[in-house]
Symmetry: C2
Subunit: 150 residues, 2 copies
């Protein structure tokens, strides 16, 4: 066990249903604790950032190790580490978002799939090392991707 | 504070100096706790994965909020959230690696910058949503990128 601090909170009006419909147009705020505000210096040089947050509504619930992606009966049962499902031993979420604006300790971002008041554990820049070309993904993911609307 | 479980450990012969010279050729193992082995089913469908791990040698050390990237005096002082520096409120690391092989509960990966025995907190697939084209990064990062040898 490691003890991880909450460095801030997500503030959003997006509901679980909004997020399921697609996160690409959702605009949210991330309010960083004022004691960490110096840590944001220069972050505005990046167009995209990683948000690592805690899926607090899942915390304490028993994690299944096998899931059907997005709960879809037509997709194969796979291990949780092969998905971004919230059902996992540690309900840590990782999402790349577009950084729209920084105003003091408040980040405005687009594309975050977090619910309101989610504890934020870390913010990291998304840089060239994170852009991998020619990746391989499983067939079920190719299907989801082909059907996406956002 | 949130309590996060260790789901496995990094096993590697790479030293801190090896990692500083460039992580791209480093081959490491990730040994997942046997109780979570079902969670790995189907992960081999991906060429790349995210490893979220705990920089245990940093834990307990005071985090600076302003750092010079890679400790270089010729680069500007920026906030830790604008870098991947290990000095940060939570010493959580995030690295995209190439997944070479899975053998039971042991993953063989290339490109991991973790030290031996680092606690692993989560494994996530790297998928098309994670590939962002046309990103913007700060000038200091462009410099590091242009000078890279790996």
């Amino acid at each position: 066990m490691v003890a991880v601090k909450t460095i801030g909170r997500v503030r959003t009006q997006a509901s679980e249903e909004d997020i399921k419909r697609g996160r690409s147009s959702i605009v949210s705020k991330i309010v960083i604790d004022r004691r960490y505000v110096d840590g944001l210096r220069g972050l505005d040089g990046y167009s995209h950032i990683y948000v690592i947050y805690w899926m607090h509504r899942r915390a304490g619930r028993r994690a299944e190790l096998l899931v059907r992606p997005r709960g879809r009966a037509d997709l194969p049962e796979v291990g949780v580490f092969a998905t971004r499902s919230p059902s996992r031993p540690n309900p840590i979420a990782l999402t790349v978002v577009e950084l729209l604006k920084i105003d003091g300790n408040v980040l405005k971002v687009r594309g975050l799939d977090a619910l309101d008041m989610s504890p934020v554990l870390d913010i990291k820049p998304y840089d060239y090392y994170d852009v991998i070309q020619g990746i391989r993904v499983p067939g079920w993911f190719e299907r989801i991707w082909a059907e996406r609307r956002d």
